[in-house]
């Protein structure tokens, strides 16, 4: 493995809804990733991606998003739960790439206003991740009652979440390192 090239793990904020509370978990995950040595990250807000809606799939690939996904070794997807599912625009964005994802790790952070912490949206995303060629980890982070977990200006009010985020990121980083080694050195032939 090229040890001089740091891991790159961006965080995708998977909602464009006005007043979205998932922004605070996404910012928190980005900060926590940024504290890790040998690792780079950035927050990708799907609301800022200029993807058209009169076509779909790789036909609408955005060069900037594609380049970021190509550079990525793993992804964190932060998604609220919309009627037990993920937002249509998140799927629209994810579907715009394919080769960029193959054999890369992904961890999912669920967010909900209620008590289930986005567990249903995580379950719904898993088969999508698999078809996109991403490799899911077995740790999630579930933000339940998100309005009570962060202050209005995004300060984390419950430090117990930091423990689950730490475990989630340890697993994701291990998987990212392992899959990079595989992508770069282990042949399928």
């Amino acid at each position: 493995m090229n040890a001089t090239r740091p891991l790159f793990i961006p965080v995708i904020l998977g909602t464009v809804r006005m007043g979205r509370r998932s922004l605070h978990p996404a910012q928190l995950l980005t900060r926590e990733l940024g504290k890790r040595a040998g690792l780079e990250t950035e927050l990708i807000d799907i609301a800022q991606l200029p993807l058209p809606t009169n076509d779909a799939g790789e036909a609408i690939k955005d060069a900037g998003f594609s380049a970021t996904m190509e550079r990525a070794d793993a992804l964190v997807i932060v998604s609220p739960e919309y009627n037990h599912g993920y937002s249509g625009l998140l799927k629209h964005v994810l579907d715009s790439c394919l080769k960029e994802y193959i054999h890369k790790a992904v961890g999912i952070v669920g967010v909900s206003a209620g008590q289930f912490g986005g567990s249903r949206v995580i379950e719904n995303l898993l088969p999508v991740m698999r078809e996109l060629g991403l490799v899911t980890i077995f740790w999630d982070v579930n933000f339940s009652n998100v309005r009570k977990v962060f202050s209005a200006d995004g300060v984390l009010l419950d430090d117990s979440y930091l423990q689950s985020i730490d475990q989630f990121l340890k697993e994701l980083i291990w998987m990212a390192r392992t899959l990079r080694q595989g992508r770069e050195h282990i042949t399928v032939d």
């Binding site: 190509e70 193959i102 060629g133 042949t187 399928v188």
Partner: protein, 61 residues
């Protein structure tokens, strides 16, 4: 085995790339320009990554 496999060369840095996966892709091209494998119902793409710079590339299997 497969000593005659044609290696891809990284378009960014020129290093030899690693072929790490194949994926079945279904045809959504309205022109239908690619040959579908009737046994699989789609076509297979190869995925390659450069061990030097991390670039990725694909080609038809």
């Amino acid at each position: 085995m497969a000593t005659t496999i044609r290696k891809m060369i990284c378009p960014r840095c020129g290093a030899e790339m690693n072929h790490h996966g194949n994926k079945l892709v279904y045809d959504i091209d309205p022109q239908g320009t690619r040959q579908i494998d009737p046994a699989l119902g789609g076509f297979v793409d190869e995925f390659h990554t450069c061990p030097k710079c991390g670039s990725i590339a694909t080609r038809a299997a």
